[in-house]
Assembly symmetry: C2
Homo-oligomer: 276 residues x 2
């Protein structure tokens, strides 16, 4: 199954637009695990086990593993997700951006070594930095378009001589000439609902990955209203939350607390869509 098919199927099966971001920080681990980088897998697996029937995707962020020499734990975590939740896709958040032979190596890392279903990429180097990944048929490639941080304005909100903003230019390319194989999606931050709506208008059928609700302060309801288009067109949104779920409680009830926050977030998203 392709990433898009798994994603649609998980969204239906779990009635969810919620993606749990797996950003493990040992300093925030509960109880006896606190500060122990050897517990990254255990901690993330406890979150996966507690939430996998509530989500449409999991999104491990590779930096949190690489900083602790925990690549092996990341491999085993993704294998664990595929085992306990075979219907839930894994988006590896790595924001890679390079060309030619180097891009082929990154693609091998994401799709062969880690067995991810999708990967985040930076579009900064242009289409030939995207193209090598598309040879991995069925895998999803989710391009940075409009990010949720204040500094996102420095480049992405620059107005081009053509009249477009830079992020609109990216959305138009990703929805059109770059998307020959139907594998592309876009990252748009939840802190800018009006810009989610703009990207959705330019890219009506692309999956949108929307980080920034929860700890980063994005409004879940406004996010869904801006990105969701019901009816016949398949236009999924994947709304990602990390810290608000992972670190919902500092003690041994952390997994139950994570489940409760995930459930409430899923419900808030569905309510904004007019479901439940």
């Amino acid at each position: 199954m392709s990433f898009t098919e798994i994603l649609h199927s998980a969204q239906r099966a779990n009635d969810s637009m919620l993606c749990v971001g797996l950003d493990p920080e040992p300093a925030k681990f509960p109880g006896a695990w606190k500060g122990d980088a050897a517990r990254i897998l255990d901690f993330c697996a406890s979150i996966v086990d507690a939430t996998h029937d509530l989500v449409c995707a999991f999104k491990p962020q590779i930096a949190y593993f690489a900083a602790h020499r925990a690549e092996d734990q990341l491999e085993r975590l993704i294998a664990h997700i595929h085992r306990v939740a075979p219907g839930v896709p894994v988006i590896l958040d790595a924001k890679r951006g390079d060309i030619g032979a180097t891009a082929e190596q990154y693609a091998a890392e994401a799709f062969e070594r880690y067995q991810a279903d999708a990967l985040t990429l930076s579009p900064f180097m242009g289409f030939d930095s995207i193209e090598p990944y598309l040879r991995h048929a069925g895998k999803g490639l989710i391009l940075l378009c409009r990010t949720s941080n204040p500094g996102g304005d420095d480049l992405q909100a620059q107005r081009l001589a053509s009249g477009e903003l830079l992020y609109e230019h990216i959305a138009r390319l990703a929805a059109g000439p770059w998307n020959r194989s139907g594998q592309l999606g876009l990252v748009v931050g939840a802190t800018y609902p009006e810009e989610i709506a703009r990207v959705r208008a330019l890219a009506p059928t692309l999956p949108l990955l929307i980080p920034g609700i929860g700890a980063q302060g994005g409004d879940a309801a406004a996010t869904v209203r801006a990105g969701w288009r019901g009816g016949e067109a398949p236009a999924p949104i994947i709304v990602s939350s990390s810290r608000a779920i992972l670190y919902a409680a500092p003690g041994e009830d952390h997994a139950a607390a994570a489940r409760a926050v995930a459930k409430a977030t899923r419900q808030a998203l569905n309510r904004a869509r007019g479901v439940n």
Copy 2:
């Protein structure tokens, strides 16, 4: 010593603007090592040993290690470089781009785990995706500005409403408001000498990392004429070549062949500068 100081000192000591890019591809390894990912360290170390008195920097590309689960070999390679060539800086080519806590993890990976002297970054997410790295005093951060691939035009050569091209906008920010701590440099591809000259004019004192001579076809002499400014101002250029040196010969004489190509490339660069 800061990255800039080590770089200056290596350029003087070895009379060189040449950086050897370490992009190990086991399929291209010589003799009995061919196809053996366990020989990545041995292969790269043989190149380092054969060229370290001819270069101003080494630039390992992390994707070539990550695709083969060879992070441990990358750690040992960088330790090897620091041991045999303590005056030659290591630029980790990873083109990271993320914000806040995630950027802090990538910085820990590059500077604490791998002990690199400098790191390549993507500027796509803006200044707050650069700032966390600057807290690592003395480390160099080299931002993508104008890349050497044809697709680089898709975003970087877009004209802004202000009249600037996007890469000029980046060069201006990197030379000005973003460079409070003096740690920044810029990546500019060798395939566009006139654009190297433009970036040099906008960023007269920043180190420029220039990949693309050799296998990618950039002209070494034109590159140096465009980027080099002699006289009193410190404006180093770091001209990077990978495949043309690493795979100069397929047999057991590969290290001697790599040395010969590195020597010829160094000389061609120096000649263009008016030295030798």
